[in-house]
Subunit: 305 residues, 2 copies
Amino acid sequence: MAVRVLTDADVARRVSMPAAIDAIEAALARRAQGRFVTPPRHYVGNERGALAFTIGGDAADGVIGFRVYAMGFPGGSRDDQLVAVYDAASGRLKGLVAGSWLGELRTGAIGGVAIKHAARPDAATLALIGSGGQARTQLLAAAAVRELRDVRVYSRDAARRLAFAEEMTERTGVAVRPAASPEDAVRDADIVITATSSRAPVLDVALLRPGMHVSMLGAKQRDASELDPAVAGRATAIVTDSPAQLESPVPSFLAGTPDAGRVTDLASHVAGGPPVRASADDITLFLSVGLSGTEVVVADLALRE
Amino acid sequence: MAVRVLTDADVARRVSMPAAIDAIEAALARRAQGRFVTPPRHYVGNERGALAFTIGGDAADGVIGFRVYAMGFPGGSRDDQLVAVYDAASGRLKGLVAGSWLGELRTGAIGGVAIKHAARPDAATLALIGSGGQARTQLLAAAAVRELRDVRVYSRDAARRLAFAEEMTERTGVAVRPAASPEDAVRDADIVITATSSRAPVLDVALLRPGMHVSMLGAKQRDASELDPAVAGRATAIVTDSPAQLESPVPSFLAGTPDAGRVTDLASHVAGGPPVRASADDITLFLSVGLSGTEVVVADLALRE
């Protein structure tokens, strides 16, 4: 039996960020109706590392499937992640996607949905803390849902932030400038995205201003988190793409704080619940965990094109 | 990233039954030493069906991976099963196998190991009850580990058993003749293989004779089993490739009988434990459940060739 296997290049050519955002938004709406199932992650390992499975998809029509990747093995992360897509009604295998771009595109698209529903409609200035792959896709997603005019990027390595600014100015058509400090980046920003590998706070809570939206992409475990829990304390609304995954398998940086109970499911807002943002002065916070099953939705777009 | 995907035809060309039997036997020996991990199956479903994952492999070197297939969906079983093989030391994806032949070859090879360790060394006559894919691969496997001279096949459809006999005489070089009844097939057989889709007993316990080996491939749940528990009662030794899988997720046809506690792990015998068969007059019974992780071992053979 021949199986279709798409690569990173195929996905990049076939699926635009706006199309991925639309597909994720629709999946979140189905999730709020109980039509999109996202069971907990499943790990099977040996003494060296583990295979991690995120499995999920639609209850009756649409697609189901899984992503699998090796984690913890010597040599670190790999680009040979696999996503398999099955027809949710018939169980027929539609195809596979192999590579790392799909996962980045998917996380970007989830971030785009969050910004669409949480940032001010007139948000135009964006601050990025971090200049890696996640920062790249969050910026692409933000540019798809808001009319950005001014983007600043800070990361510790001046050469990397300069290269990021040049590359992303070219890719987005928006002026992206390197910032000399987190303060320089965040000052007067409508949207702040933290996307670092840091396990200690990278954003001073004193920089928060009324009306800001913050998207947090990096580590968010207790005692190892990219943001101070005080940022959540300042937020009027806190949303995540998966409340269950936020606290499992390890407690989040909000566990045990009064804010843990205030975290709402992005899906419920997308599906016609109350808006995330009640007023222009609200501070909103999005905790990105990477909802299981959403890779399958984006992979299906690539396989359908 | 390009991923190698082999098809049924590739596997058939690259992996002989004797090579698969050797690989499975080696994996069982590692299993007895705790070097081959086989966690329980994992199912994730929607309201129509489920994806079933059998995951497993080697602890430190060799391979780990999984098989996944859709089950329960309208339209029944499919040939688009996937097996993914990873290097157990590095976590690197070695490749995929898509199709149905690998699973059949693997189950055949496990049966070959069982016959090698449980049937009399001079076993030469074989009776098959059933003429489907499992019967085919069990015969190929038996012919790889014993000098067969006489094979009889019974199944309810006379045309199918005749076609099976003609095809398998050609493929094995051993005379395979259609039998008019189970009695006609089983009389004086050294090895009896039941490989049917029946959920009721297909072998009269009165046909058992000292020295026989019986391999049971079909349904073995309580209240839905291809053999009467009395067959196990007559057996001197009862082995299975996975004691855990035999009783999970549903109890086996032996649950609650005195024989349930006598079932031993084929791996322990392969790895230098006591022989399954203590004397030429013993009646031995193999309960084939399809040990998780073994598909990965056979797929690796195909990817290595």
